[in-house]
């Protein structure tokens, strides 16, 4: 297993390098630079800034400098946030994103799987239909609409929860953003789970268990749950990637200091260092998650293990 993990990591390195290279040059092809804006600056001032960030050197030399820095573990300066380097910004924002994304991840799995099981067991009952309707809502209402609706309802009308901010980081500040983040994932997971569970419940080994007189709870818990989780599991990798790299919309609307906003803002700001830094960070996260999913697969499915 370890050798497998090691090999996977090694093969990912060239991919990472290609991504950085492509990203580096494509970024520079985009018109507009980090210092263009509403307030144009005199040429002399811009020359000073370009020199400060090595932007006055030939592109290929800038690339060499950057790769050299990355190899030493330095993601370089941010072009728009003077006081914090790229690595610092990511490391400051990461804990917030991890808490938020982690909570949303757990909530998505628990509620998604539960809803899926209920839907499968009570197929075509009113509870199944209600859940299906909720799922549909979760899928069709985009988060930039869901967030303000929840803010208006729970923050202003009922005044139960804060409208936004991280506050002291207590649970009440987390409820709304986590709900918005997890709703679409609960929806998808519950559909996957329901479908898989129905299929598994119709399979021969469940029929055997039933004919042996086992009750419905032990059948679900002991026999049907694990195989039904397979499709959910393959969805969890990307879902975790999405949640752990933060959500721009949720962070913007709730004013949370996570790293999601860097992914979009850095590109819009032409903050070259930040864009590359986030690309590297994102790729490493995806890499790790894929590895974990592969290992989980092996754990869940004996056939994979046998290979």
């Amino acid at each position: 297993m370890l050798t497998y993990a090691f090999k996977r990591t090694l093969t990912a390195l060239p991919v990472l390098w290609i991504a950085i290279t492509v990203c580096f040059f494509v970024l520079r092809l985009a018109p507009g630079g980090p210092f263009d804006g509403e307030r144009p600056m005199p040429a002399g001032i811009k020359a000073n800034l370009d020199a400060h960030y090595n932007l006055d050197k030939p592109l290929i030399q800038q690339y060499a400098i950057y790769i050299g820095d990355v190899l030493q573990g330095d993601l370089g300066p941010s072009f728009t946030t003077e006081d914090f380097s790229v690595a610092e910004q990511i490391s400051i924002g990461l804990p917030y994103t991890l808490i938020l994304g982690g909570a949303a991840f757990v909530v998505s799995i628990v509620f998604g799987v539960l809803a899926g099981i209920i839907g499968a067991l009570k197929r075509n009952s009113w509870s199944d239909h209600t859940l299906a309707a909720l799922v549909l809502l979760g899928l069709v209402i985009p988060n930039f609409l869901m967030a303000p609706i929840l803010q208006l309802l729970f923050g202003i009308e009922l005044a139960w929860l804060p409208v936004g901010g991280w506050g002291d980081g207590s649970l009440r500040y987390l409820v709304l953003p986590v709900a918005v983040l997890s709703f679409p994932h609960i929806a998808r997971i519950s559909r996957l789970m329901r479908g898989a569970m129905i299929e598994v419940l119709a399979s021969n080994f469940i029929r055997t268990a039933r004919s042996k007189g086992l009750g419905s709870t032990p059948i679900v818990m002991r026999h049907a749950l694990r195989p039904s989780l397979m499709p959910v599991m393959s969805y969890l990798g990307p879902a975790a990637g999405y949640l752990l790299t933060g959500s721009l919309v949720v962070e913007q609307i709730f004013g949370l200091p996570g790293i999601g906003r860097y992914f979009i803002n850095a590109a819009l700001n032409r903050d070259y260092g930040m864009v590359l830094g986030t690309v590297i960070f994102y790729m490493v996260i995806i890499l790790i998650l894929n590895l974990i999913v592969d290992l989980l697969y092996a754990w869940l499915d004996p056939r994979v293990r046998a290979q």
């Binding site: 001032i45 006081d83 901010g165 200091p257």
Partner: protein, 527 residues
């Protein structure tokens, strides 16, 4: 004995008051918009950063509640007869927040650092009035002691200018002119600005900074007027989403919003009466038009396009916040500039304007069979889009075919600076309180003269005006230049900006002003 007791009671009462006071007045929660990029006044450029650094640092002069310059770290000054030499006397006993004295040498050090090309301060040019500053900044002069800023002694600072600059005392309120603590910057270098190291000389000092969330300040008890501050500190919240900010304001999480969505203005006037403020702001929203490219190199074509815009409809109807129609290039109310020039056709009825515009276009060879075609570009933004759509339809009525083209802001301005435009949206907010600030945008040979307007007479008048020490004569020369640019329709002024704030009724002392600068020093909170 009795007196002593009385004193004790009084002390107890005051303490009690202070404690209840701190429960209520504690911290002002301010929605600040963007994320600060730095707390180093020489490294920032946004109005959201100005709000923070302007509370924690103070220059020789500073802003009063109306954003007019008043004595800051300097208690008085003398100006030489030729208007070139300013001698400042620093206040007695002024200190940095670590207790070190603020000296004239700190100012010398800061101005030298500002102009040092290696600092790469992107707003250094705002102090280019100072002798040799531009040459030092461009690397032409390498001896920083040539800069026109000298410490005569610890308490006396002498600044020499390139030419008389009537707005110089105002320019000194700007954050580029703040002193930096030489003893800390030299010791900690780039890290001096870290929250654990930073030392400031303004009414407040920063105590906490979570990027993407907030900057928190508290009273700097070394500040000379610290005992007059009514607010204990400010939490400057980062939040770009204006609708979300409004919701948090309604829930009582914010006391002041520094922007609001224009489409909510009507609702706020009804539901939050007196709290949403749209006030005249020293800024111009305009369309640049390519003076070098046919057919826009024909002044008649430019004039026709400018005349046919129904300006009175833009602010009240298209935007809904009531921006005032602009017929001048310099917004009204700039210092040392009594009355801006206006376009000659300002007072014609719109029907007459349209008829004249049609005639001008026909004269230039455009009619129904051969319509004028142009591309109108704007940077992606809901309001810019609305204005562009409205103006395109006004031009369409004239028979002009308009293609709307939008790009994100970086691309927009990068291409404008290269002169890639027919007609394009742009805007300018005054950096300092002087007409010259706006007229400069039309000067020949500079990047942000997007339309590449070129008129030697105009350039000459500007140069003459700025060499003139007589305020009245100078204003007359500037006005003459403005009139030339307007007569030639060098660009198309559309409206003067409004500042947009929402201020809770419990916040007192917030005065609307043309620069939208509201230092916390002048505010208080009453429950």
């Amino acid at each position: 004995m009795q007196i002593l007791n009385f004193k004790k009671v009084l002390a107890g009462m005051t303490l009690g008051c202070m404690m209840t006071g701190s429960v209520f007045a504690a911290t002002l929660n301010l929605h600040n918009g963007g994320d600060a990029s730095s707390l180093d006044p020489q490294k920032v450029s946004g109005d959201w950063e100005n709000r923070i650094v302007g509370d924690i640092f103070e220059g020789l002069t500073t802003e009063d509640a109306h954003a007019e310059p008043i004595p800051g770290q300097a208690e008085s000054w003398e100006i030489s007869d030729d208007g070139l030499t300013y001698t400042f006397k620093l206040r007695d006993g002024i200190q940095w927040s670590d207790g070190e004295p603020v000296t004239a040498e700190d100012f010398v050090y800061s101005f030298q650092r500002l102009m040092n090309p290696e600092t790469a301060a992107n707003y250094a040019y705002l102090q280019f009035a100072i002798k040799n500053s531009e040459k030092i900044n461009s690397g032409e002069i390498t001896d920083f002691n040539e800069l026109g800023v000298k410490a005569i002694d610890d308490k006396t600072l002498e600044i020499t200018l390139e030419q008389p600059t009537p707005y110089f005392l105002g320019a000194l309120t700007h954050y580029t002119a703040y002193p930096l603590p030489k003893h800390v910057v030299e010791e900690k270098a780039g890290d001096w600005v870290r929250i654990d190291n930073i030392v400031t000389n303004g009414p407040y000092k920063p105590t906490e900074w979570v990027p993407g969330s907030h900057v928190l300040t508290t009273i700097n008890d070394k500040y000379y007027d610290a005992d007059k501050l009514a607010i204990d500190g400010v939490k400057f919240f980062t939040l770009e989403d204006q609708s979300a900010a409004l919701k948090r304001y309604r829930a009582g999480e914010f006391d002041i919003l520094t922007a609001f969505p224009t489409d909510q203005y009507e609702w706020m006037q009804e539901n939050l009466p007196g709290q949403a403020r749209a006030a005249p702001f020293a800024g111009l929203y305009y369309y640049a038009i390519n003076n070098q490219k046919a057919p826009f190199d024909n002044a008649d074509v430019r004039k026709a396009l400018s005349m046919s815009i129904v300006r009175e409809a833009i602010g009240p109807q298209v935007l809904g916040t009531g921006e005032i129609a602009a017929y001048s290039w310099v917004p009204p109310g700039m210092a040392n500039y009594p009355e801006p020039a206006t376009v000659a056709w300002k007072d014609l009825s719109q029907a007459d304007k349209n008829a004249e515009a049609k005639k001008l276009l026909e004269g230039a060879g455009y009619n129904a069979d051969n319509p004028l075609k142009l591309q109108l570009r704007y940077n992606t933004d809901e309001n810019h889009k609305r204005v562009a759509v409205a103006i395109a339809s006004m031009w369409k009525a004239l028979g002009v075919e308009v293609e709307l083209f939008n790009t994100e802001v970086k691309v927009h301005y990068a291409e404008l600076q290269e002169g890639q435009l027919d007609v394009a949206r742009a805007g300018w907010l005054a950096d300092y309180n002087d007409a010259d600030n706006f007229l400069n945008l039309l000067k020949g040979g500079i990047d942000y003269n997007y339309g590449r307007y070129q008129n030697d007479e105009f350039d000459k008048l500007l140069a003459e005006a700025n060499a003139n020490t007589d305020a009245k004569e100078r204003a007359a020369l500037l006005k003459k230049a403005e009139q030339i640019a307007l007569d030639e329709s060098a660009a198309i002024p559309i409206y003067y900006y409004l500042s947009r704030n929402v201020v809770s009724p419990k916040v007192k002392g917030f005065e609307d002003n043309a620069f939208d600068i509201h230092r916390t020093r002048w505010l208080s909170i009453e429950e």
